[in-house]
Amino acid sequence: MKSQYKRVYSGLSFSTVKEIKGPLLFVEAKGVSFGELVEVTTPTGEERLGQVIEVTEDIASIQVFEGTSDLEVEKTRIRFTGEPVKLRVSMDLLGRVFDGRGRVIDGGPEPIHVDEWNVHGAPINPYSRAHPSEFIQTGISVIDGMNPLVRGQKLPIFSGSGLPHMLLVSQIVRQAKVRGKGEEFVVVFGAMGITADEARWFREDFEEMGVMDRTVMFVNLAEDPAIERLLTPRLALTAAEYFSFEQHMHVLVILSDMTYYAEALREVSAAREEVPGRRGYPGYMYTDLASIYERAGRIRGGRGSVTQIPVLTMPEDDITHPIPDLTGYITEGQLIMDRDLHRRGVYPPINPLPSLSRLMDAGIGSGKTRKDHKQLSDQLYYCYAEGVAIREAAMISGEAGLTERDKLYYNFADEFERRFINQGVYDDRDIEETLSIGWELLAPFPEVELARIDPSLIKEFHPRHGLRRG
């Protein structure tokens, strides 16, 4: 099978491997440039790809994306291409499935390409960025109502092993739309380290919902080489940038699972004997992750957008682990899955309290969703936080001491989980429905408790006032 990369056969070629260590090759060579793509031919004639990550006058250090197993010092041949790693792009990528380094794996022909783009991209000039402000309706209340997604945002899902993030991702892909516009999303799916079963499930799922013809998948499986994962999200984002900035389409990029990506990063860093940062992850992991996550956004005056939903599993559900921690510092919020909600049968088990959408204020309100959205959401937040605190306190000191006011909040917390957060996998609620469930849940409170909502909005939307019942 042919590779998706440009090849320059006139490049320099060497068979002077000096050392092999972990995923790294050290080659004696002159005239090599930093960051260039390398083709490695194994003693058995197999071709692999690598990238120069350090170069001195006579030694080039190469990370081999497919790993270094079966390589040996004498018979391995190295060809330097003189080019950075590139992806061949065209509209023909749509509907296709590639492996984690960009080779066709769906049995189809090599797609015809119109251009070749450096997979590392270039930073968007901050001055050229448009502030994301178009609300994406996912049909999921806890997202739309409490932590809405907007076009051009990067909003990760922090999950844990065994939690239903796959179902959630699939539901978002199926239901996501911008209201009042016919435009559909192009879906770019970058899979890192997921199992073959999961990959098959996603693909069948996309086919079933009829989105496969506007989807492109780059799949690195759990059994595929770990170092390849460093490339996979970059291929996915390069394709996404082509669709959005060249073809003016709206692109939804799913990257799953970023935890495996970070582990590959750690592996390379360890092999380079770098001074490790927290928990063995390299000190530059923030910058490296940013070079992926920052490739989301919109251009002023441009018609396309790149919206990212990275998925990561928090090791031991620990949000302070470097992977979720650094991610949270880069992304525009996070949706956090909660094992406790999951155990109690709530789907999607997203806990709104630690979750956040930083672009919420820009994306909602009059003309976008509805003018009561922000304040209603603030009130629901307050009531749920109070309710959860009271419920926790009652677990220790018993329910006897609860005041009437306490009980209202306690019940609210239960009902909020049961009716607002909880919904079916095929339940596609529009924003009006989400907001009216919210108002109904607030109805038992005396109005003085609803201090986060303007009296005029209470008059207009509160079920007690009889208007606008959803």
Partner: protein, 592 residues
Amino acid sequence: MPVRGIISKVVGPFVTAKNVIGLHMYELVRVGSEGIIGEVIGLSGDNAFIQVYEETVGLRPGEPIEGTGKPLSVELGPGLVGRMFDGIQRPLHVLQGMAGFFIRRGLTPNALDRGEKWFLHPTAEPGSKVSGGDVLGYVDESPVVKHKILVPPDVKGVLEYVALEGEYTVEDDIAEVRWGGERICVKLMHSWPVRKPRPYRYKIPPDTPLITGQRIIDTFFPVAKGGTAAVPGGFGTGKTVLQHTLAKYADADVAIFVGCGERGNEMAGLIDEISELKIPGTDQSLLDRTILIVNTSNMPIAAREASVYTGITIAEYYRDMGYSVILMADSTSRWAEALREICGRLEEMPGEEGYPAYLTTRLAEFYARAGRVVTLNGEEGSVTVIGAVSPPGADFSEPVTQSTLRLVKVFWALDFALAHKRHFPAINWLTSYSMYFDSMKNWYEKHVTSDWVKVREEAMNLLREEEELRELVALLGPEVLTEAQRLTLEMARMIREYFLRQSAFHPIDAYSPPDKTYHMLKLILKLREKMSDAVERKVPLVELLSLPIVEEIARMKILPYDEFKKSVEKMNSEINEQIGRLIEKVIRGEEA
């Protein structure tokens, strides 16, 4: 003759060059055949260690490097305000014009537009003796910034010539100074090395608060003009929103925002907001006093390191004109991480958690450039620095937070628990502090009211009492509380909900003038006093809490200032009347 050498090693944004004897530490160099910009950050024998401000992919050993003989400098002159620059002061709007919406390598446009004309109003008299910092004239850089043209700090002598009133570009000679036989031409702009603090006569202790319109800050934890503050907080606790809010509402003459290794979308949002909003109390656009230095997290890390110096040097320049300047750095942790990466690559012995042993020194040098000073020409100017800190895992014991806390005098601790409840700004009132309050008491007494200190203390005591009572409840359950203690809890809740909580996105609530802040707090405390009295006379708390005045108090923060001002008296008498009626009712009941 510039020093020339060749590249011997490339790894990420770091390049080693050999045969470069004569290069200076921190000298700017041109790297490779494209001549991309780098800075010398280490010298060893005839080798130089260089950090490169642009993408290094494609560089190879053997390519040339060339010294420029100059350290990294910024251009100072009219044309800074209202603009967005990257970490090494390349104007981003110009880069867009040159390369489109992605940043391309190897472009080095001038920071200040050479073609733009400025109308100079000369004020100095030829023949007079001048020295660094003296004002030669001014141009109106924006409707709010009168940009004074100063004699550069290192120039002195007799003023031979001053240009006539009229239009000039930044490169035109507008004055000539003679020192002995030497003649020095002065232009609207001059350049200054970023790592060298600009001189001033002497520092004076800060005694004026920087009014921010944020109730919790202005009331409890004010920062002084010329002071330093740190905002540490985990992700999602509102560091950036708070920094943006200060950029918008703090009462400074010039605001500089350094987006250091943070999000691009955020910067787009900030510039949109700043373009739309007005400077509080005026009809002028905020953009007319703001300068943005932006190096997002995916832009080259070395330029991120430079960005804080670029920002503070520009801040000092406006300070030297006698202005009050604020500089927000979001986030200093990303800067520290850049230092850590450099330290790692230089194979220096690391200190704590891989950070260089000189981390505290660097932070100290940076924060030391804040201050209230008497400038070279005898005016008073100030630079206030507010640094965000992003501690990994929200753990404040990490090196950057700890080093910063030793240097700054105001600490706004952002708190996850508050953020989760959407209580913003999520500044924890029990752990935060301001060491300026005492030295600013006089100002408050003179400009706000004589009982400010007392009111503030009473409110803080109430919040502290709440904390103690909560601990009690957690241990023994709520039954143990007396009615008076329950009232304390309720009143503390009102202070938190109706006073401390403030929406950065509500058109009225976002900025609370000091006078409104004072009267809001005063009303809540008045309510407390009357309610305590009523509780003592056996009025049930439930009845007190459902009085209509409570709801009015709850909503006073969203009343426009004029309306609020008019209703203060009325609310005061409502408190007396409504509670008075309840007391009378109880007394009548007892009598019956």
